[in-house]
Amino acid sequence: MKNKFFDLKLYIEGIKRLKVIGTAFAVISFGMAFLVPLTYGYRADGIEAEDFISPLVVLMVAAIVLVNRVFGYLTSRKKSDFYHSIPLPRKCVYFSFMASALTWVWGILIVSLLIESFMWGFDFYLSTVLLVGVAFAVATLFIMAVMSVARILTGTEISSMALFAILFLFLRVCGTIAMSAMKMLVPIYDFEHSFLHYLGFEFFLPFRVIMLYDTDGIIPLIIYTFIISVATIWVGAILYTRRKSEMAGNNAPSPMLHNIYRYAISTPLFLLATEVVLEFLLWGRGYMLEDSITILACAFAVYFLYELITRKNIKKMFASAKNLWVIFLIVLIYCAGLLVARNQILDCEIEADDIESVELINNNTYYVYPENYKIFTVDSDLSKACVAQAYKASCEDVKNEETINRYRGVYTLIRLKSGREIYCWLVNFEGASRMYSEYISKDLELSSENMSLPSINKNTHTVFYVADTKTYDYREIYLQSDTRLKIMNTFYEEYYSLSDEQKAILKTNIDTTAPCVIIWEEDNDDKYDYAYICKGVYYIPDFMPETYAAIYRNAE
């Protein structure tokens, strides 16, 4: 009996206890599963994973509420005493009640998906609905695991919700804030490829499932989250076994943990304030001063309000001020860490000899999907020297606190012989992108296949963009089809009159300040996949004056 992990009677008791709330969530989710497909109507491009999401988002809330409800007795001394006195191993009580809540959530999930599948007329790949189901099942499992741990480690509703927020979001929020700070401190560096990126919300399943239109890399994330969830549930079981019943009604098992909860709940805001203060000090942007003061005020408010709400005592709230030094110490360490990391990145000099290869990547155009980025690998000594020089100059710019504009730079992956990879924007050298094009065109093999443009047919669509020099963004130009055709004819005529070297420059041009032509082609082969495929992205150089002028003329 000591090793009993599950009790059927207690599990059924848990199911019964959750019947009112569970039914309410079921009604909402089933209703949405029924109504959403009706309101969407016919989907010409097939049913995608994202079309299943809306009714299931309710389950994220259900997961929190149901676990709170089933372990609700942990906040009341008499209830807690009752469940701590029953003759079942505590692990068994924990697992049985967790299973009850899980049954409700997963039950609603399965039925909702079945309703949706029926409403969509089963007009989708089975793998799509399975992926959605598994992703949501694991995401809700994780939420429930974290919520149960938060419940066990606290004794009041407020402190348990606060601890849930801490356990659930602290790492992700701090990771995002740290990445944002590093982006601000080293604006030429792309931290999307650093470990900080993995601490962001993109790699956090409960958030990722809400954006299931992008399913790339989600399966490893599901597996990772499942492992973490199981580990968290196991930790929950151990903590439940060690939990003191007398903790019910208290905010935390010990005064020290109470302090830690308060620090954790207010730390992200203090870190955010640190970033804004640093930005103000480094770049001297006036409006940052107001932002700094506002965020700092919010951080202090959260710190003191948490104390006031949980302890319900103004004297204790003021007394907590004496512990603020811990926050200041955290901020100081964080600040020092940021500056050390910044200096390490900027002080790292790259010589041409250190470079294995360089990839120049155009990823500035929002509408171009990653597979269509222009990626050129260059490995000539000339290009390497150029890149090394540009990298050094860009770092100097950051050190000298020059305003950095990524849109004027060239996104580059520098592969070093040591194996290290540096993703960065090279921003500082005269006519950077033009020079790149020239260097690259010398590196590329000029084959006839490389030099041709995509053929135009009835399925071809063209889109024109011009760079907005004020916002550093792109603006699409909406044109009649005959105008578009005229520009394209001009573009093609002008292109085929160019020399081979100029053609290569055009094809490799990544000067994002130039007007842009994107050629799409309809693809109806795959019923459920994207109906358009990008065939080419061209930034018009100044040696194509007629096309250049035609685009700008119509942009006004």
Binding site: M1, K2, K4, D7, K9, L10, I12, E13, R17, S76, R77, K78, K79, D81, F82, H84, S85, I86, P87, L88, P89, R90, T241, K244, S245, E246, P255
Partner: protein, 298 residues
């Protein structure tokens, strides 16, 4: 047998129990009496396996109780603050108890509910405080416990119900060998119920004895002599209290009743009355003998 060995319990800076030790024999009713904060409820929670003591150990027939379902299956604890499921009826609570306690007897539950005229289908939230206490005691008794711990259970019950419940408990002790631990603020409440009694004060047992012994070991004697006399006249026995008003003295002495009666008669007194002592009086004199002022304890 329940053996409590040097049990301590601390809540942050507050010491609720301080190296408390006692032994509670099987099939007896053991009373714990003490003022608020004396540690009665804490001791019962430790005995029920709810709290893990910060020091010492509690053994039930040599087995620890904390996180030991085998032992806890034999225990039922009725706390001073009662817990029922929201919107629960006695019937639904009985189902919950039967899910938890494998020996739960619905027959016994029905019998006791009928005896106390409690509607098992009515919502417990419609019950009076006393009825809730009855309901929870019935539920506890229906689990067929070997150890039954009742924390101030009889407080707030009317005399008729109190006597009914006490009778049920006596029967359980006699027929099933149940060990019952009762707590109360009131000595009078426990006087006619318990076999053994312990007085708790500031987390420790200051006095423990079986009641029969306690009552028979102390005698209250009113005595008068033609001549003047003092306490030293009774040096053949232990005098706990000596008060003289005029020629009549009231003496509290410890000893065997028949023997003392004989010895006092041999002194040829003008007046000799042996009066019964209430448990409260016994406690007062025993505590005074130990150096406590009884008012501080209860």
């Amino acid at each position: 047998m329940i053996k409590v060995e040097n049990v301590s319990m601390k809540f942050d800076n507050f010491t609720a129990l301080n190296e408390l030790s006692c032994s509670i024999p099987d099939a007896c009713i053991y009373g714990l009496v003490g003022s608020n904060g004396a540690g009665k409820s804490t001791l019962l929670r430790i005995l029920s396996g709810i709290y893990r003591p910060t020091g010492g150990e509690v053994l039930f027939d040599g087995k620890p109780v904390y996180e030991n379902p085998e032992v806890k299956q034999k225990i039922c604890f009725v706390a001073d603050e009662l817990y029922f499921l929201p919107q629960a009826t006695m019937k639904s609570m009985a189902k919950l108890y039967s899910a938890i306690y494998k020996d739960f007897s619905f027959e016994r539950f029905g019998e006791f509910s009928e005896m106390l005229s409690l509607n098992t289908k009515a919502g417990i939230n419609t019950f009076s405080k006393g009825m809730r206490r009855q309901a929870s005691t019935i539920l506890a008794l229906s689990t067929m416990p070997k150890y039954l711990f009742l924390d101030e259970t009889f407080d707030g019950l009317d005399p008729v119900v109190r006597n009914l419940l006490k009778r049920v408990i006596y029967n359980d002790v006699i027929e099933r060998g149940t060990t019952v631990i009762l707590t109360s603020h009131s000595l009078r409440e426990l006087e006619d119920t318990c076999d053994n009694l312990a007085l708790l004060h500031r987390g420790g047992i200051v006095f423990e004895s079986d009641i029969q012994n306690l009552k028979t070991m102390l005698l209250k004697i009113q005595i008068a002599f033609p001549e003047d006399f003092g306490e030293d006249k009774f040096d053949f026995t232990e005098v706990l209290s000596f008060k003289k008003h005029g020629s009549v003295a009231t003496v509290i002495v410890r000893g065997e009743a028949e023997e003392l009666k004989r010895r006092f008669s041999e002194l040829n007194p003008l007046l000799l009355d042996i009066l019964p002592l209430s448990l409260e009086e016994v406690f007062i004199y025993e505590m005074e003998a130990l150096g406590y002022a009884f008012g501080e304890l209860l």
